[in-house]
């Protein structure tokens, strides 16, 4: 057992403050993704409503925005916002802040598209049925349309949230030290002493990501089950 612990590099975890540092890295990951997710949901709902407008100008703008997000790898967006902004207009973002911008930029587009889809999937007759009962426009939205939209939206947006969390390791490219970077630092610092530390550390990273994403998936399937009754 002792041999296994050493061989797979788990011992490295308990040297000094290594484990706390890993948790700290995970916190950076979580902080950035949760702020981005929260912003994406709020902005995405607004965008989704705008996307249902028939106005050709807003339609074209939304289209271009969505295409940019789809075509550009997130890594390119990170570089543009972090380095490009400094180069172009001398705007010096903190790397965490640049990461939040990029993730929000990406999340808002995807969320907006999901919201648009969910809104448009509510049949016209649901509105008419509500109107004919004497509900006014805002009563119809708040009692009928929005609750149904959220139910349709939830599984898809949970998927987006976990995807955003899982994409955060990219931010090491703009010098943010998050969980996987801390792991690499620890691996390197112990390269000679524990050459197999990579296994143990990435196993811990796996467990940490699992611990974050699994409850979210559980919540999603719980709500789905609850709402399908």
């Amino acid at each position: 057992m002792q041999a296994l612990v050493t061989d797979l590099g788990f011992d490295v975890l308990f040297k000094g403050t290594n484990f706390t540092r890993l948790l700290g890295g995970m916190w950076v990951t979580l902080k950035i993704s949760l702020i981005s997710v929260a912003l994406s949901i709020v902005l995405g709902i607004l965008l989704g409503v705008v996307m249902t407008f028939k106005n050709p100008v807003t339609k074209a703008i939304c289209r271009v925005y969505l295409e940019i997000v789809r075509i550009m790898p997130q890594l390119v967006l990170l570089f543009i916002v972090y380095y490009g902004s400094a180069r172009l207009i001398g705007l010096k973002f903190e790397p965490e802040f640049a990461a939040v911008i990029v993730f929000t930029f990406w999340g808002t587009a995807e969320m907006g598209d999901l919201v648009r889809g969910a809104l448009q999937s509510i049949p016209k007759h649901q509105y008419e049925s509500a109107y004919s009962l004497g509900l006014n426009r805002s009563q119809t939205y708040f009692s009928i349309v929005i609750p149904q939209t959220i139910r349709r939206l939830l599984p898809l947006s949970i998927n987006l949230v976990t995807r955003m969390i899982k994409t955060t390791p990219l931010i090491v490219m703009i010098e943010v030290v998050e969980a996987t970077k801390v792991a690499r630092q620890i691996i390197d610092a112990n390269r000679v002493a524990s050459p197999n530390a990579a296994f143990g550390l990435f196993f811990v990273i796996f467990v940490l990501y699992f611990a974050v994403c699994w409850p979210i998936s559980l919540l999603a399937s719980h709500l789905e089950k609850k709402w399908s009754n």
Binding site: Q126, S132, L133, Q139
Partner: protein
């Protein structure tokens, strides 16, 4: 005749160049049951939708108790409360239970107390034989059950007039009866009803007056017995003929 509840005066309705309703006029009296029939595309469903201001009209006017119905006016929600409408595809709210579907509008729109509305909803559900389903969700009900809930939902608002838009058209045949029985019951109790249907026997049984609509105009307007036995116009005759079948076998048997 009793008081006029609904007045339709010379209305025009078109989609682009396509004229759907052409100078149509109709008065509906309190307690009267009017059945509107006609070939598909004749504008009968559109007429109901115009009455509820779900479709704008391009000419003429519709008044309920003398009040103008206009989809753009501020008090349209107020007027719609007095008009109950039942749709072909039920249109219950899928995220709410049967009871919640029924009490939503009375509580939100009419600000009635939950206790009182729930009590009334339960009585109405009992009348249509669905009290045991009050906590079910729409997807757990059959089509016929859903349609009866939709009728109860409209009734609970105490409308002055009920509009029925081909309410049995989407139902399996064995469920049509339960819905029609519910409507007959309403008619017996003196509700004012405007019904679009293809059920000719039902129309004959329930109607005080039959309106035959074709090409956006009222072609014939008559007492149901007269209409179904001796239609006055050729168009109505032709239309009614499409519901008749000649037996191809057992020529000596009368059904």
């Amino acid at each position: 005749m009793a008081d006029t509840v609904l007045t339709i005066n010379n209305i025009n309705k078109s989609y682009g160049d396509n004229l759907i309703l052409n100078g149509l006029s109709l008065d509906v009296h309190k307690g009267e049951v009017i059945v509107i029939i006609g070939p598909s595309g004749c504008g009968k469903s559109t007429l109901l939708r115009c009455i509820n201001a779900l479709e704008p009209i391009q000419g003429g006017e519709i008044r309920l108790d003398g009040e103008l119905i206009d989809g753009n006016s501020r008090n349209i929600a107020q007027i719609r409360q007095k008009i109950g409408m039942v749709f072909q595809n039920y249109e219950l709210f899928p995220h709410k239970t049967v009871l919640q579907n029924i009490i939503l509008a009375p509580m939100k729109v009419q600000k009635r107390s939950k206790v009182e509305v729930t009590e009334e909803a339960e009585q109405l559900l009992e009348r249509v034989g669905l009290l045991d389903k009050k906590n079910s969700y729409p997807r757990q009900l059959s089509g016929g059950q859903k349609q009866r809930v939709a009728i109860v939902r409209a009734l609970c608002m105490h409308p002055e007039i009920m509009l029925f838009d081909e309410v049995t058209a989407a139902l399996d045949p064995e469920m049509v009866r339960e819905v029609l029985d519910t409507m007959l019951e309403l008619a017996k109790n003196g509700s004012t009803m405007l019904i679009v249907t293809h059920e000719m026997n039902f129309a004959r049984a329930i109607a005080d007056r039959v309106i035959f609509l074709d090409g956006g105009e009222i072609v014939e307007e008559a007492d149901p017995e007269d209409f179904f036995t001796y239609p006055k116009t050729e168009r109505a005759q032709k239309f009614l003929d499409t519901f008749e079948y000649e037996s191809v076998k057992h020529h000596d048997n009368e059904y």
